[in-house]
């Protein structure tokens, strides 16, 4: 480290005054960033990593204040600076990239105009060449055809493209420090790689310092010089990113590292050491100790576990779920289509139809878990909605357990007894729980509608039993969703899905909104439940590392078509298709110690 760091945060404590008194979000944090250095701040939600960066920019909420410590930025005391001085500092000296690029851009203004605003604000250019400078900024973030894109509105650009514009905005005034707050969360893995490569390349070339705030240890290790690990508002470890993986000092860092899904480990390995040692898994769970991949080959063990699994030969001919040539079309609602509908009687031309799912076929066997993988917009969610009978398909057939469910309208399907057999765990645990229902009421809802348990006490007993199955403390059953943590909400969602003993559960990115340590626990829970209840899973995800751990087979989708399918081992270990290869190489690989 150089003698004079660019940013020096010393003993920083940030307090928020809330209804329950003062909460210290950040306590005695020491961070320094040297010129040209890339620093990663890693931590789970609530660890205070974002609050630290907000304190540096002095953009804390009204309720928050810097209680103790100092923040020095190249000789300026940020804590004592006036609001005018700070306004000059923000954008010109320190700039920030936010998590959601779409929210960071003004939706009703052209991106070129928005870049010009920043230039104008900080008097970086004369009015005459401002437009050229904005185009140059777009060029530098490698946006194709920058001259045209200058006139584009944010909604016309993809998520990755928007993030590039945000980066262009952040770098327009050549700041000395860039703070990137989860810049790639919500982006696809290939886009994530492109965006991160771009950030690193641009900042290195300009000799800028960068603070990368992320929950992904692998991402931080792959792109940062040093990593700071935060837990509950405190810095628990600071080290070179190569060292932190080789010999993590703090127990929390080790726990985080263990919980990160990666190649060559099983689901059980994700759990913290102490807890794994304390509670040896029950016999029914022991099979799960093997990587999930071995399970399909190990027929005898899974058969013993689940009486519903039919003998090998029958299993292949009669899958639980059979999807054949499934197609979903949407009319493309462009402005020109609407206009032509208004002004001409000609039927819309063929090209106006968009095929979200384009003739896919696959099967899911009894007791099997199949991963459905692809980037956003590839049609994987549409496929799962059609299988769930929440959406009608355009053509194709869906057979479940020998019955043609594709022919049943979604509205009618809701009341059929078959509804019990196909259930779903949703992506966002917060959004999928009714804010006005307690946890117990949410779990009881499917039982009250379709189950055969009647009477308040019996229902309550069943809810408590289910809560026990998913590891939700019974005393939390009377809480409302907003009083539960993310992991607890996920458990409520899982308990609701398994309440009716379904045969097939569709998991729509069930861990995407969770921290890695919670994700590790939830994935293990899902695996255990599958073992003990003999369910099949259709696991929709974009995270290949998670799919590798949980699924027997993988289906890779792109633009509505299946590009590759096969056992997890073969598809993810030895991909045949170029797209699968691209997906796999885009995953940030942390420098892992050899086991």
């Amino acid at each position: 480290m150089t003698a004079q760091p660019l940013l020096d945060v010393h003993d920083l404590t940030v307090e928020f005054s809330t209804r329950r008194g003062i909460v210290k979000a950040v306590q005695n944090v020491n961070i320094s960033v040297a010129k040209g250095e890339t620093l990663g701040i890693v931590g789970e939600s609530g660890s205070g990593k974002s609050v630290t960066s907000y304190a540096v920019m002095r953009i804390l909420d009204r309720a928050g204040r810097i209680a103790e410590g100092s923040v020095m930025f190249s000789g300026i005391d940020v804590k004592a600076a006036t609001e005018n001085e700070m306004r000059d500092l923000r954008g010109r000296e320190i700039s920030m990239i936010f998590q959601n690029p779409r929210a960071a851009l003004n939706p009703i203004r052209k991106v070129g105009d928005q870049i010009e605003d920043v230039l104008r604000q900080h008097v970086q250019s004369a009015a005459s060449d401002r437009g050229e400078k904005a185009i140059e900024a777009l060029e530098q973030v490698k946006i194709a055809r920058p001259r045209e894109r200058y006139h584009a509105y944010p909604f016309e650009l993809s998520g990755g493209m928007c993030q590039r514009v945000v980066i262009a905005l952040a770098l327009a005034c050549n700041p000395q420090l860039l703070i990137a707050d989860e810049p790639t969360t919500g982006l696809d893995v290939t886009t994530q790689k492109a965006v991160m490569d771009l950030i690193v390349e641009l900042t290195k070339r300009r000799h800028m310092s960068t603070i990368l705030i992320t929950h992904d240890l692998g991402l931080a290790a792959a792109y940062c010089d040093r990593v700071v690990v935060m837990e509950k508002g405190r810095v628990v470890e600071t080290a070179k990113s190569a060292d932190i993986f080789a010999k993590p000092e703090h127990a929390y860092t080790r726990k985080l590292m263990r919980a990160t899904p990666r190649i060559g480990v099983s689901l059980r390995d994700l759990l913290p050491e102490e807890e794994g040692a304390q509670a040896p898994p029950p016999p029914s769970v022991m099979a799960g100790l093997d990587p999930a991949i071995h399970q399909s080959s190990n027929d005898s063990s899974s058969e013993a576990m689940d009486p519903r699994v039919k003998p090998g030969g029958d299993d292949i001919t009669k899958p639980l779920l059979l999807v054949e040539k499934l197609v979903k079309e949407y009319p493309r609602q462009g402005a020109s289509a609407v206009l032509s509908k208004l002004f001409s009687r000609k039927p819309p031309v063929e090209a106006e139809i968009f095929r979200a799912v384009d003739g896919i076929s696959f099967t899911v066997g009894h007791g099997e878990s199949v991963g459905l993988v692809g980037e956003s917009g590839c049609g994987k969610s549409t496929t799962s909605m059609m299988v769930m009978r929440l959406l009608d398909q355009t053509s194709g057939r869906i057979a479940f357990d020998g019955e043609e469910i594709g022919a049943i309208m979604p509205q009618a399907f809701a009341r059929l007894p078959l509804r019990k057999s196909i259930q779903m765990v949703f992506q966002d645990p917060t959004d999928s729980l009714n804010p006005r229902f307690t946890a117990a009421r949410a779990i009881a809802d499917p039982i009250m509608q379709l189950g055969d348990i009647r009477g308040r006490d019996a229902l309550r007993a069943r809810c408590e039993e289910l809560a026990g199955l998913v590891g939700l403390p019974v005393n939390l059953l009377d809480r409302f969703p907003h009083q539960l943590s993310g992991g607890q909400k996920a458990r409520v969602g899982i308990a609701r899905a398994i309440a009716l003993h379904p045969k097939l559960v569709i998991l729509d990115e069930p861990t995407a909104a969770l921290d890695v340590s919670v994700q590790a626990v939830v994935l293990n829970l899902l695996q255990d439940l599958k073992q003990s209840m003999g369910m099949s899973y259709l696991f929709v995800s974009h995270d290949l590392n998670v799919v590798r751990l949980l699924c027997d087979r993988v289906i890779v989708m792109r633009a509505g078509r299946i590009v590759e399918q096969g056992s997890s081992e073969s598809v993810l270990g030895d991909p045949k298709d170029a797209y699968t290869k691209e997906l796999l190489t885009a995953i940030p690989h942390p420098p892992l110690p050899v086991h």
Binding site: R19, R20, L271, E275, Q278, A279, M388, L390, P410, Q411, A414, R415, R419, K420, I422, Q423, M424, F426, Q427, D428, D431, S432, L433, N434, P435, R436, F437, A442, D445, P446, Q449, L450, G468, L469, V470, G471, L472, P473, L476, D478, R479, F480, H482, Q483, L484, S485, G487, Q488, G493, R496, A497, V518, V521, N524, L525, D528
Partner: protein, 299 residues
């Protein structure tokens, strides 16, 4: 399996339950927001007058005493007397019941009609949405007070018809708010989950969506309550509504208006003040109510 993850308790171990929690929460919101507390105080006074008014007033509101006609405010008659010698204080207090009844009844009616039509329109979309939307547009195409006058004139001059007219006039407000709120939630995760649980569409609408839009509807109800009182008083003022000699703020203002020129200001002023305070109270309540009924704020 519960050993795998120790339960983290976000809300703290000690939690009061049920009614006590709601009371505690209400007290907190009122302590935080003095204006709402003031409005609640006014509401208590108004409700007290509406319920117990006839039993506590010093004079019979309908008894005339020509010897004491047009007396200014005094110790015997706090608000003075009108042209027939009736005690204005007694009449103002007694009228509270009728005016609040009209307001509450019409708001309840419009909530049932507009609210339900609105969430159905927002949830189902398509033809339901088009029909409800066009009905609302049609109503909004008229000047609202003129429309209310027309309805009362056509249906007849009774309290029941004032309630119906006030409800119809407010229909678009409720239908639009409910439609927007339901539309946002029609594809929310919890609604999808409810479908998977085997809930029928109607049940989803009433059990899952309606309770979630109640906070905003309650705010809406509080705001229209003030408007409903004004509307009823306005109709009575122009003679299309409650008929004399019944005590009602609108008629009393109308009767007093002609005496303003000759200097007997108290006849119109006091019922007018009562009207103003009632409207003021319901308008102020809106924000505070939202904080109290919103579960997100109850932590």
């Amino acid at each position: 399996m519960s050993a795998v993850l120790p339960a983290v308790d976000p809300a703290g171990p000690a939690r009061t339950s049920g009614l006590a929690a709601i009371f505690e929460h209400t007290r907190y919101v009122l302590g935080e927001n003095r204006v709402t507390a003031f409005a609640f105080g006014l509401l208590v006074i108004i409700l007290f007058a509406a319920i117990f008014g006839p039993y506590i007033v010093p004079y019979d509101p309908l008894a005339s005493d020509t010897a004491a006609a047009l007396k200014p405010p005094s110790a015997a008659h706090w608000f003075g007397t009108d042209q027939l010698g009736r005690d204005i204080f007694s009449r103002v207090v007694v009228a509270t019941r009728l005016d609040t009844f009209i307001a509450v009844a019409s708001v309840a009616l419009v909530f049932l009609m507009g609210g339900l039509a609105g969430i159905a329109a927002g949830y189902f979309g398509g033809w339901t949405d088009r029909i409800v939307g066009r009905v609302a547009d049609t109503i909004m195409a008229f000047p609202l007070f003129v429309l209310a006058m027309g309805i009362v004139a056509a249906l007849g001059n009774t309290v029941q018809n004032i309630i119906i007219a006030t409800a119809i006039v407010n229909f678009p407000l409720y239908a639009r708010v409910a439609r927007a709120e339901a539309n946002v939630r029609r594809n929310a995760g919890f609604v999808q989950a409810a479908r998977l649980s085997g809930n029928g569409e109607l049940r989803i609408l009433l059990v899952h969506i309606l309770p979630n839009i109640m906070p905003i509807m309650i705010v809406q109800m509080s705001l229209t309550m003030g408007y409903a009182i004004l509307n009823a008083a306005g109709l009575s003022f122009i003679g299309l509504g409650v008929r004399p000699p019944m005590a009602e703020w609108g008629i009393m203002v109308a009767e007093g208006a002609s005496f303003m020129v000759s200097g007997e200001w108290w006849i119109a002023l006091f019922p007018g003040l009562a009207l103003m305070i009632a409207v003021f109270c319901f308008n102020l309540l809106g924000d505070g109510l939202r904080d109290i009924v919103d579960p997100q704020r109850r932590t």
